[in-house]
Amino acid sequence: MNRSGKPVAIVGAGLAGLTAATMLRRHGILVRVFKAGKYIAGLARSERDADGFTYDFGAHFITNRLAAAVGCSTECRDMPRYGETVWLRGRTYSYPFGLMRSPRFVLSALATKAKALLRRRPPATAADWYRAQYGTKLANDVAIPITEAWSGAPAEELAASVGEKFATSLPRTLMLKAAARITGRTVAIGYCGTLPESPHVWHVYPEGGVGAICERLADEVREDIRTELPVEAILVENDHAVGVRVAGQVIEAAAVISTAPVHVLAKLVRGTDRLAPLARFRYRPMVFVNLRIAGPSGLPDVVNWTPGPDFPFFRLSDIGAGLPWLVPPGMSQVTADIGCQVGDEIWSMADEDLGRLCANKMERIVPKLSARYLGCRVMRTPLAYPVYRSEYEDDRRGFVAGTGVGGLLSVGRNGEFMHILMEDVFWRTRRKVLELIESLGGESS
C-alpha cells in the first residue's frame, strides 16, 4: 500500500491502462481505472459479424511471449503464415530480400553508402534518413511514398526519428528468417523494439480477437474498473498530479496514469502549462476498408505495400491468409488502409463507395477481383499513427523523457505518441509504472 492510501487513477482501459492497473495491484497499490466507453480493450477491440468475419483496428497479432506473459496462450493460435511484399511498377517484390535483389536498388544503395564515406552528416529529415539508409532509389520509390501515405505529411517535413523504428540488422534478419523456415513458424521480425528478437518468439493471435489479452488482464482488476465514466480533468498542483475530475466530482489520487492521446492529455490537465506543447502533436486519421471476397484473395502475401499514386490505399492485408480463423471457409478478407484527414473526401465517402473504389483499384494486382467482391465493412479512426513533424520534434524528444509533471505518466501507443505495437506497449508500460511504484514507496514484501 502506498503511504497516502489514495488510489492511482488510470485514464483508459486498453492494453496500457490494464497493464498499469495489474502492475500496481500486484504491488499492493490501490487503483481506479476510468473508461469513457462501455467496453474495455481500446485499440485492441475486435468485432465479429453475423457472417463470421472478425474486424480489428488493424491486425494486432501478438507474440507467443506476450501471450505467455499475460497468461492467455491457450486462447491463441500460431499464425500459419506471415510475409510482406511491395508492389512496384506492376511487379511484386518480397520484402526485404526481393527488393535487395533488384540491381537498380542495390547500385543506388551502394552509391549512397560510398558517398556517405566521404561526407558524413546526420540526417535532418525522414527523407534524408531513408535515402542515407536505403539509397536514393529505394527511398524515393518505396519508403518515402509509404511514409507520406501513412503520415499525411511530406517526408521532408518529418523528423529523422521516423526511420529509427525501421533500423534493423541484416545478419539478424537473415538468422531469424532461416529459423522461421526451419521451424515453420512466423518468427517475429521487427515487431518489438523493447525486447530482443529470437527464433523462439513468433506471431500468435487469440482466437476471438486480440481483446482477449485485455480481458485476461482485466480479470485481475475487474472491481477497480469504472466504465462509462470519462475523466474530465487531471488536476495538478505544484507540478504534481493530485487527482482527477470524473462526472463533476474530484477524486484524489496518489498519481495519475493517462493513456489518452497526448493532444487530448494537454487539454485534460489543469493547474500547469507544462503539457501545453503537446496540443500541437498530430495523429494521422485512417480509414480501414475491410473487403469481403469470395475465394482466395489472390494477393501475393499477408501484408502488401502499395506505394505511389496508383492506389488510394498504401497497404493491403490479407487477413484470411495470416489469421484464417477470422474468416469463414472459402472466403477472404482484405483490409485496405487509407490515410486521410477527418472530414475529407475519403473520410466522408459512403462505406459502399469506399469498398467499390478499393475493389476496383485492387484489380491492378488481382485481375477481375470486382466480380468476387461481396461487400465491405469500414472502420474509421482519427488516431491511427503519431506523426513526427519536424516542427515539434524538440518537444517530442522532451516528452519521451517524461511528462514533466510529478506523478503523471502517459503510457500506451497514443499516450507515448509512439509507433509501437502491443508487446512494446506491455513492457514499456510496466517499466514506467515500476518507477512510479518506487516513487510511491509501494513495494510489498
Binding site: 500486484r26 504491488h27 506473459a69 526451419i182 521451424t183 529470437s198 515500476l434 513495494e443 510489498s444
Partner: protein, 329 residues
Amino acid sequence: MPPATESPAADSGLRLVPVLCCLCGVEDVDPVGVGEDFEYRTSRDTFLAIRCRRCGLVFLNPRPADDEAGRIYPDHYHAFDFQPVAFGFVYRVRHRLEARRLLGWCRGLPPDARILDVGCGDGFHLRLLRDCGQPGWTYEGVDSDARAVAGAGKAGIKVHHGKVEELGRSADSYHLVLMIMTIEHLADPVGVLREVRRLLVPGGRVVIVTDNAASPDFRIFGGRHWGGYHFPRHFHLFNRGTLAKLAAAADLNVERIITPFSPVNWVYSIRNWLDDWGAPRLLVNRFSLKSAPALAFFTLFDLPLALLGRGAILRGTFRRPSADAEVAK
C-alpha cells in the same frame, strides 16, 4: 493433494497466477525464456521464464496455481518411481556416484544423527544412505505428492505426506537436511528454507542441489529449450548469487556453493530442441535419461565446466549458526 487421476483434457489451460520476485518483493523483470511442457505435455500453455533485474533470480511468471499440482505432475513423472528395471545401467552408475556424494555431505555427523530429505520423491537418496550410512543414523523424508510417498513406501522408507511446514516437528530436530532438486519446485522457497532452519539443530546443515541458471547450457538454450526450465514445474532457478541471497533471507550461513557436473540439463536441452524443431523421433530418443551414451558424453563434457565453476548444477551447503553465534547476535 488430490488422489492420482487421469490428467484432464490437455487442451484446457492451467490456472495461472502472477507472482513477484520471492527475494526482492517486486516484479522488475526481463523475459528470458518462453516454452512449453516439452517433456510431459500436461497442458497447451506457453510459459514465460523471467529474470529479476535486481537480484538475477530466474522465475516462472505467471505460474500454475497451487491446486494445479495434480495436473503438472502426471502419474508417470520420473521422480515418483525411478526403478532400476526401467533405467538399468544408468541407475547403477547414478547409484554409485550419488552414494559417494551423499556420504561426503554426512562427514562430521554424530552417530545418532537425524537426517531429513525434503522433497524426497521416491526416496532414492534416503535408500542410498540407509544402505551406505552409519547404523545409528535415522532417516525421514517428506514429499507433497501421494504418489511419491507410495513409491518410497514400496522401498521401505518412511516418508511423510505433505509439506515440510506441516511436519509438526519441534525445533532442533535434525542434524542434516537434504533438498535435492527440490527448491526449484517450491512456490515459497524462502518460507520453506526458514522452516528448515527452525528444524535444524544449531550448527546443523542443509544441502541444496538445484539447476544452475548461470551455466553454459543455460546461456545456449535459455531462450526456450533449456532442460532446467522443466516447464512448468521449476518455479525458481538460481545462480550462485541468488542461492546465497536465498540462504541469507532464511538466516543461514553459506558454507560453500559449488557447481558439480551433471549431464541431465544438457541432454534434456538438446532433446527439447530436437523435439520442438521436428527432428525424427529416432534422433530425439537418443537424448533421454535412459540413454547411457548421451549421459556419458555430456558427463565428460560438463566435467571441465564444473571444474571452472560453470557446471550444470549448483550445490550449496548452508549452516544454521551455532548456539554461541546466535546468542552473540
